[in-house]
């Protein structure tokens, strides 16, 4: 296990260095996040629908699509000079490769979310002070699930002609359960309800994470092996 994690971290660290050197996906995702929140802020009518009812959906729509921008890049960078071929010839375990990509993607998405959340609070003036920790926990729980699935699917579509389009089409149906759960829990938290009321949704998010991280770890090798 230690060897699997060591290899995974080697891959993740390389991806992080490459991304922070080129800043292609991160900058796109951050700009996208800021733009979407700005558009929603000016596009809504606060007298028609209370902000508190609309805010959780806006937050998760923004996070989901911003994350997709970063997920696409995970395996595209392995196609440059066919580095993936080198990875597959090496003793790198396929599960380590998946975990490495998952770790890097989680860090990219976490960075986008850490910028997006303050912007969201700023634009929508929602009271997150009292529920910040549980809210960050819910964001982490939901993010792990959809990034786990997204990382698997980005490997699946990387060699296709319309990888970016296909990723969205394939991924969105799988994101419905964690997104519904995340929106519901976020709404409860922002509405000042106790976390215990969200226990069912939290269990769903946890089950989704465990199920899909395990499944994706098992299935990943079939997406990269010829």
């Amino acid at each position: 296990m230690a060897d699997l994690l060591r290899q995974a971290w080697t891959v993740a660290r390389k991806d992080l260095v490459l991304e922070f050197r080129t800043r292609t996906a991160i900058v796109s995702a951050l700009v996208f996040t800021a733009l979407v929140l700005t558009v929603f802020n000016f596009g809504r009518d606060p007298t028609a629908v209370p902000t508190i009812d609309l805010a959780p959906t806006i937050l998760w729509v923004t996070f989901t699509f911003a994350a997709m921008l970063t997920l696409n890049r995970a395996f595209q960078l392995e196609l440059e000079n066919q580095a993936l071929e080198g990875l597959l010839v090496s003793p790198l375990n396929r599960t380590s490769l998946y975990w490495g990509k998952l770790i890097a993607n989680l860090m990219f998405v976490a960075l986008v979310e850490s910028v997006g959340l303050p912007l969201f609070v700023l634009f929508f003036d929602v009271p997150v002070g009292r529920v910040l920790l549980p809210l960050v926990g819910v964001i982490a729980l939901a993010t792990l699930g959809f990034v786990a699935v997204g990382t698997l699917f980005s490997a699946l579509v990387m060699r296709t002609r319309f990888a970016e389009l296909l990723l969205v089409v394939l991924l969105l149906p799988f994101l419905v359960p964690p997104l519904i759960g995340a929106v519901q829990v976020t709404a409860l938290l922002l509405g000042g309800r106790p976390l215990s009321e969200a226990a069912g949704w939290l269990r769903l998010l946890a089950a989704y994470d465990i199920g899909f991280v395990s499944l994706a770890s098992l299935l990943f090798r079939f997406t990269v092996d010829e």
Binding site: V17, R21, N81, Q82, G86, L88, S90, P91, E226
Partner: protein, 240 residues
Amino acid sequence: MLSAEGLRHAFRGGRVVALDDVSFSLAAGQTLTIFGPNGAGKTTLLKVLAGLIRPDAGRVTVAGGRGAIGWIGHHSHLYGHLTVRENLLFWASLYGVPPSARGVNAAATMRRVGVADWANQPVWSLSRGLVQRAAIARALIHDPRVLLLDEPFTGLDLKAAAALRALLGELRGAGRSVVLATHNVDEGVELASVVAFQRRGRFVQLAPRGGRSAAQIAEQYRRAMAEEGGGAGGGRGVDG
């Protein structure tokens, strides 16, 4: 060190036969040079040997497993936005080179292939020949026991090609087994201890080089291809 038994592989539902009953065995210090025209199945064979493609039938045995293989394919497998040194350290880490030895190995390998002066340059900024040298360094960073080389001279100038030939000679002397695939008889002959001619997935000839000269092998290659139905285009360096 390396053996292949009855390898068969086909693409497009069996319509394109890439490997047809290929078998051979290489001991330590031997170099198998495979000559064949485009589409003969050389790259598929190397990919099967490297474990990139699972053959439809047959078996490959590499002493030491995947970690013992050094692979140079048609692409460099290098990350453009990492420097040559960073690339080598990354690959050394994946191949389990101990952390304390990575820097030393990387420096020594870069000196060996002549890219030490470009160690801190990002790969994207290098010329094609330098990228190929860096790719060779990547393949050697873990001191592999088996080297699989697919057209390794591509992009190298005459001096660099001669240096690579000398390096491969050194590796053979150090007991490394090498499989080299090329369409150019001039390139691989002097390194070969075993010579194979491949066409339509089959080894139409597999024999020790013996005392044959490059010219003799080129002539035999031309005839072997002609007997198999033509298409070698006259032997040396043609029919890319």
